[in-house]
């Protein structure tokens, strides 16, 4: 069992990425009761945004110097696409039967994938994402790559900032009010259209951060990367209790760790030998989702609705 710390670290890193993306699902759902199935692609375009910024910098720029600008680039592209999706795809359908925005989301998701595939230079293949060079770190018996340090800092920092924003700022208060009762929020003088845009923008920004983390970890970005990551992050949001921002992050971490542990240890269970290894990790993630839906449909933090926003 000496590899346990390693598996936990892998799970945490993966889970932090899921959590960052899951925030976008949960915030939008909390405000407009819409599952934005194009959110995985909003994550994906952020990766290409960050890569484009890096490629535009003079050759030989150190990654440490480039990272803040890449992050800004990734966030900007994700946020612009997120806001455009709200404005042109979802807002015209507000008040329509719920199937309409759902189908629109799937259509948008395909459109964004194909746009990158067709128009991004060499977008048909995976594009190499810059990597940190140098030694990995040894943390509590686990080997952590340099690039993974990024998400381990970024995810908690984003969560703390979001928690502060929701609880302490005027716009955050307005966001809670809109989530709880949009009509009455309007009666208070809150421009709920702007709050909805803000929810999309924050969710997209977090997806942009996650995309940079993904690029640093896997060493590449490609047009299809939003599909499985989006699906996992959606699972994390449901697992944590959809609508609850802390639930989204918790769900992400739980899902990431469960996946890592299942991949490593399932095969040690007698009779389960053939289900071990990376090929089965998605299966275990969705088995976990099915179990939660059966046993605790409101999600892990579904009852702590006071934190919803």
């Amino acid at each position: 069992m000496s590899e346990l710390p390693q598996q936990l670290a892998n799970g945490l890193i993966l889970g932090a990425m899921y959590g960052l993306i899951a925030i976008g699902y949960t915030m939008v759902y909390g405000i407009v009761q819409l599952i934005n199935f194009a959110h995985g692609e909003i994550f994906m375009v952020g990766g290409f945004g960050a890569l484009s910024v890096f490629l535009a910098l003079p050759a030989g720029t150190s990654l440490a110097l480039a990272l803040p600008i890449m992050l800004l680039g990734g966030i900007t592209v994700s946020v612009l696409v997120g806001i455009a999706a709200e404005r042109f795809a979802y807002r015209p359908l507000r008040g329509a039967p719920r199937l309409a925005p759902l189908i629109t989301a799937i259509g948008l998701s395909i459109a964004l994938q194909q746009a990158v595939w067709k128009w991004y230079p060499d977008g048909k293949q995976a594009r190499v994402f810059p990597q940190f060079k140098g030694h990995s770190f040894d943390i509590l018996g686990a080997t952590v790559q340099r690039g993974d340090i990024f998400v381990l800092i970024a995810a908690p920092a984003c969560m703390i900032a979001l928690g502060f924003f929701v609880a302490k700022t005027r716009s955050g208060r307005a966001m809670q009010a809109t989530a709880q009762d949009p009509d009455t929020a309007k009666l208070m003088g809150i421009n709920t259209d702007r709050i909805i845009v803000l929810a999309f923008a924050i969710g997209a920004a977090f997806a942009g951060v996650a995309a940079v983390a993904y690029g640093l970890r896997t060493g590449e970005v490609q047009f299809r990367m939003g599909f499985i990551m989006g699906l996992k992050a959606f699972t994390a949001a449901v697992l944590g209790g959809i609508g609850n921002i802390y639930g989204a992050m918790l769900g992400g971490v739980v899902l990431g760790i469960a996946e890592a542990l299942a991949t490593a240890y399932i095969e040690e269970i007698p009779g389960m030998e053939q289900f071990g290894g990376g090929a089965w990790k998605d299966v275990w993630a969705f088995v976990l989702l099915i179990l939660v839906l059966l046993l605790r449909p409101q999600g892990l933090l579904g009852e702590r609705v006071a934190d919803r926003a």
Binding site: A174, Q176, Q180, D183, T184, M188, A306
Partner: protein
């Protein structure tokens, strides 16, 4: 001199069903006006249209000399029209203090807001004692107090109250009605929608009786209170 609120031939529909079929009335500054009538008469629809949550089919709404038609809901409260909606509609997971703060969402004068919150707590001491409690845990009467307090926090020129007595115990209802009377005597202009005709008419300057989308009878509160047909239809006498 024109009235604070002027409603002319207002029509509102949900899809093809017309809920308000052309009503006209006005509210003078400093006055308390009530709309009474049974369920489905169109009273709540009227208020929701005035505050911009519903779009009228036709008709003209003038508030403080400016037309309100086409103005979005969040801009209407800015003009001084506050609406305490039917069923209180508090933000249940926010505290009493946070609900009151939201009532003052458009105001920037922190000192004035704090003073007004204190004023609400003076009006309803129980709210002050529980200011950190989630509003969803309050009793019906306490929620109604908070809903009224929250609407007052915008310092409205006109306060619209929708069914403040709904679902309350007789004692609590009396307390709420007394408070409305007190607000009125302090000079707050009030548009009150009620099913409890007796209570509403006894404190209103003007009353309008609504039936299936139309105003069928208008008069001073006192005269309607003594009107034969009103007594029969709404005050349970035969």
């Amino acid at each position: 001199m024109t009235a604070l609120l002027e409603v002319e031939d207002l029509r509102v529909a949900y899809g093809k069903i017309e809920a308000v079929k052309g009503i006209s009335f006005s509210v003078e500054a400093g006055e308390a006006v009530t709309l009474i009538g049974t369920n489905g008469a169109g009273k709540t629809t009227t208020l929701r249209t005035l505050s911009g949550l519903l779009k009228p089919l036709a008709g003209k709404i003038t508030f403080d000399g400016e037309p309100l038609n086409g103005v979005p809901a969040h801009k209407i409260v800015e003009r001084g029209l506050a609406h305490s909606p039917e069923g209180r509609r508090l933000f249940p997971r926010l505290t009493i203090a946070e609900n009151l703060q939201l009532g003052a969402f458009l105001r920037k004068d922190t000192a004035g807001i704090d003073a007004d919150i204190k004023r609400v707590y003076d009006l309803f001491p129980i709210l002050g004692e529980r200011s950190k409690q989630a509003s969803g845990t309050l009793s019906g009467g306490e929620q109604q107090m908070l809903a009224m307090g929250r609407a007052l926090m915008s310092r409205p020129k006109l306060l619209m109250l929708d069914e403040p007595s709904m679902g309350l115990s007789p004692i609590m209802m009396q307390k709420i009605m007394e408070t409305i009377r007190e607000l009125r005597s302090q000079g707050t202009t009030i548009l009150l929608v009620e099913q409890n005709a007796q209570a509403a008419l006894s404190l209103a300057d003007q009353g309008h009786v609504m039936e299936i989308g139309r105003i069928v009878l208008s008069g001073s509160g006192a005269s309607l209170l003594h009107d034969e047909s009103v007594r029969k239809a709404y005050l349970g006498e035969d």
